[in-house]
Symmetry: C2
């Protein structure tokens, strides 16, 4: 019998347990006592007094009865409010362009003590070898980095070329790992609803863990069927009505505020005391610039409290306890005896101003983390091999002939959302009848040297130049947008030369580029250096027009076939509602 | 690998799942459609419209989109409100004096679709053989009868003689049974707090499941230590402050309203929307008379709503969803697609008036249940062997000499509570200085023929006669109280002759007696016949004085050593606070 598959079973040795009890009884000194502290009562509401005493990484006791408790280290919290460390219920660390080591360096000091990761991006590029490295990182992390095993690699069978297949047989190699909490977002919702055996096989194999969903805009009988299949949560809700219906039908709701998809303002008004145990926060995809400048889950909490008047204990609950319970992480998410000592001390709870973070009973020191980062990264043996198997291109490779008088489909973006609209335009003698349109192409990068798939992109705001990237969900082929095919070729060739990365071209030359040597997705630079690099890219992008706030993230979702309405993969234009390919030229 | 140990993993076959999805999609007819129904929204609050469609025992879909759904059977709910079937989070079915078969016959029509049982009573009498029979009953039940494996048999090592030992080695035989949800109330809280290996061994063996607690009145460092050990809930809270503190420290709170211990009025004011996911309802010990006349969990819900103004969605939530989540029963506790179709249709939600109950997708018919009861009971092969190994007694066996001028300890009961007070009295030339005192004796019934342990009982209201019973927690020796030793002997000899049972004697003869042939705890009669029998016993009891509302249940807890303050076991007078034996005569 294998008990490790149940994550409730977080193992503490007998000695550790007995030492913890001795401290709880005040028969032995604590490792730490946090004094002069008040705890938010996330269960009842209100507050409750400290101190908090800690032994061996766990909370031994809470309350005034511990004022005189002996301890090796005494932390004077100076009247701070204590809350549990924050939990991101669903994210792709790869989207931060940081390795897991760099990611925790950047986010632990922001109170993010737990992340539920779907390493879907690196698995799409590198398959099981990518997952193996990711889990190696998680095993060495100070942060609690849990893994949902990517369920849909490739994202949608037959819709794109990607770097690897990741069938159930390989998924099972990792299912019983102690850091694995379940099955990551099952994006092929039409397949689930239809009851396809290959999908139900995966779900059945992980049914004793947590089954993550992904069903943007789903409603009616289809939503009922998706839930009846056993899917337990969704982070793809765009309206209050959609979110409420998913909650009513038993789903847990992950309120996502990423760098591209921003649903917090739409969904926050839905949170109440009653449904808060079923509401969680997640970032899904958040870029390094935002992490550095706005924060991570801390930024979401701040907005819940200050912009949406969510009561403190509910805002901090959805950021911790709700997610811990949902994923069966019973040792996390609450400040209580026996729980892991993941603690955020807030000098200002309303504004989420952090005075001190502790993880696994140890204070987090941002400077020490930074200093250790390069050595810790190299210990994880990052897979630096080139994953961009593409020969350089010339401008004519992007040529598409448009016939005056004909109508063409246009991928119209919605700023800060992942869904697109299926737009259209008319080709005239002078070009198109809309002046917001630029070219988009997606180039397969896994050695097949397919001809670029080309299309038209609306509302992106690109006035000149070109942007290229090897970050493009979920297959991470090369996506490029541009006003001229020459600049598109220039940008693409730079990212090929860099072995993956991001690039901005305008006025005929590369203005800024960021190599992403790990799978064409992640940098091996430090968080700080990466933030500077991103600033440079953003500045260069600004010269190209009024782009979305995060142009590369917005761009990265233009080839994701599982999200409506119109997308472009390396194989062509894809109708994300009908789940079939379509043509650029519209039939009259 | 054994996935059956995780109860989240409630297995549905592939065929069943695909049939369920087909109905959800409206591609196939449902088994049932419940139309003209409104659902209480237990997640968000408020209501949401039906219909509800059911296939193969599970809910396939909910909502107006199913109005025209084809179905084999159509139930017109006539505007009823639908809520999930009720869950009793902790009970000893034996205390109903009914077998599990009879119990479900009596309680399923009252909406009680799930019970979390601790078969602690029969295990104390019969050991593993008793558990085997109990689980055989649960396997054949229509009700969801889950089992917490009894952790403390005997209740407190060395404090009493009981019928069997039930060590970890035997507990492990049953742990992985699909109906086992965890470890039942770990009553030896001093042992847990001290970190005793034998107790931690048991807890570690069940830590991946749910660890039930029992810690009446515990607070301060001791409560912290008990929780730090991993105990997850408690059903023994007597005051609002005690309940709130347990919730603050991470415990789930079971609000108990049994026939002897009644905590609902004290704890109901604590329930709010915020803490409701951590609050559950339980009966612990409820007698057949109350079940027949007042109800079971339905009675508790009724009082929460009408006496304590708990909002409807919160009252029904603590009676269903909260408990299902706490025990990892993810297929229960909510009306949602994919959940088991355990449904209560209420013609009046405020007054919990039931129009129809469904369990596992099948309508409950009280008459059919009753008609099938005898045959179903005999299929479970009840263990009818005599468990009362005691030779008849005479009055002089109960004689204790009291010396005028000396003070004696008195067990002072508190009506409707399990805890007692440690009282005292003075022996005078004429008897005692208190006129509320009667005799109490406990007689070991497991073949050792120990001399009766004798004591004094205050405030019970017994003016004449004697009451005897083989139901006496937790060892279930013979407990007898009386005004005369002659009548005590008469009552005891009747229950010995009956092979266990209850008996009321007054005016020198047996007035009423109920044989309990299954382990001296349970009747083999039908629920209806049992209710009549209990009425007769109560009437006979009423002749003996102003007894507690449920004299036999109150009496049954007078020998339970793990509950403060003063108790009498078959081995003598026990101080339930110091956890040691004490003397009847007080030392000056």
């Amino acid at each position: 019998m294998n008990t490790s598959i149940n994550y409730k079973y977080h193992k503490i040795s007998r000695t550790q347990r007995q030492e913890l009890l001795a401290v709880a009884r005040k028969d032995a000194p604590a490792d730490y006592i946090i004094d002069n502290v008040t705890l938010l009562d996330l269960i009842n509401g209100g507050e409750t007094p400290g101190p908090i005493v800690i032994k061996g990484g766990y909370i031994a006791g809470i309350g005034p009865e511990y004022h005189e408790c002996a301890a090796q280290h005494r932390i004077d919290a100076k009247g701070a409010i204590a809350v549990p460390g924050f939990i991101d219920a669903h994210l792709h660390i790869e989207s931060s362009m940081m390795t897991p080591v760099t990611f925790e360096t950047a986010t632990l000091p922001r109170g993010l003590t737990t992340v539920i990761c779907d390493p879907h991006e690196i698995v799409n590029v590198m398959g099981e070898a990518g997952l193996a490295w990711f889990i190696r990182c998680a095993e060495q992390a100070k942060q609690n980095q849990y893994i949902q095993i990517s369920s849909c690699v490739p994202a949608l069978e037959g819709s794109d070329v990607n770097g690897a297949r990741f069938p159930l047989e390989q998924m099972l190699h990792w299912r019983d790992h102690p850091l694995v909490t379940g099955l990551a977002e099952v994006m092929d919702y039409p397949g689930v609803i239809a009851g396809q055996d290959t999908l139900l096989d995966k779900m059945d194999a992980f049914r004793h863990l947590t089954l993550d969903g992904h069903c943007p805009g789903l409603s009616g009988t289809a939503l009922n069927a998706y839930i009846a299949a056993g899917i337990e949560n969704c982070h793809e809700s765009y309206s209050l009505q959609e979110g409420r219906r998913k909650l009513q039908l038993g789903m847990a709701l992950m309120i996502r505020e990423g760098s591209a998809a921003r649903n917090l303002d739409a969904l926050a008004p839905l949170i109440n005391e009653s449904n808060s145990p079923q509401c969680m926060l997640c970032t899904d995809d958040r870029n390094p610039w935002e992490i550095a400048h706005e924060g991570h889950i801390d930024a979401l909490i701040r907005r819940l409290i200050n912009q949406h008047n969510v009561p403190l204990h509910i805002a901090y609950r959805v950021a911790s306890w709700s997610a811990a319970r949902h994923f069966g992480l019973h040792h996390l998410g609450l400040l209580a005896p026996g729980k892991q000592a993941d603690i955020v001390l807030l000098s200002d709870a309303r504004h989420v101003i952090m005075q001190q973070v502790m993880v696994k009973g140890v204070p987090v020191n941002a400077e020490t983390l930074s200093a250790e980062e390069p050595a810790r990264l190299s210990q994880t043996l990052p897979p630096y091999g080139n994953t961009v198997q593409r020969t350089p291109l010339v401008a004519s490779d992007f040529n598409v002939s448009f016939t005056p008088g004909k109508r063409y489909r246009v991928i119209d973006i919605i700023h800060n959302e992942l869904i697109t609209q299926a737009g259209e335009c008319l080709c005239t003698e002078d070009g198109f009848d809309r002046d917001d349109i630029c070219y988009i192409a997606v180039l397969e990068r896994y050695g097949q040297q397919l001809a670029p798939a080309c299309g038209l992109l609306g509302r992106f705001g690109l006035q000149k130049g070109a942007l290229a990237a090897t970050v493009s969900h979920d297959s991470h082929n090369i996506v490029v947008i541009g006003r001229t095919t020459e600049e598109m070729a220039l940008a693409v060739n730079q990212v090929i030369q860099d072995g993956g990365g991001l690039c901005v071209v305008h006025d005929g030359r590369v203005q800024s580029h960021l190599p992403l040597p790990v799978a064409g997705l992640m940098s091996n630079e430090t968080a700080e250096s990466l933030a500077h690099h991103i600033d440079a890219l953003k500045n260069a992008g600004r010269e190209c027009g009024s782009l979305p706030a995060e142009p590369f993230i917005q761009m990265a979702f233009l080839s994701l076939p599982v999200i409506p309405a119109l997308k472009l993969t390396s194989m062509g234009l894809f109708d994300g509602e009908a789940f079939t390919f379509t043509t650029l030229e519209m039939t009259p």
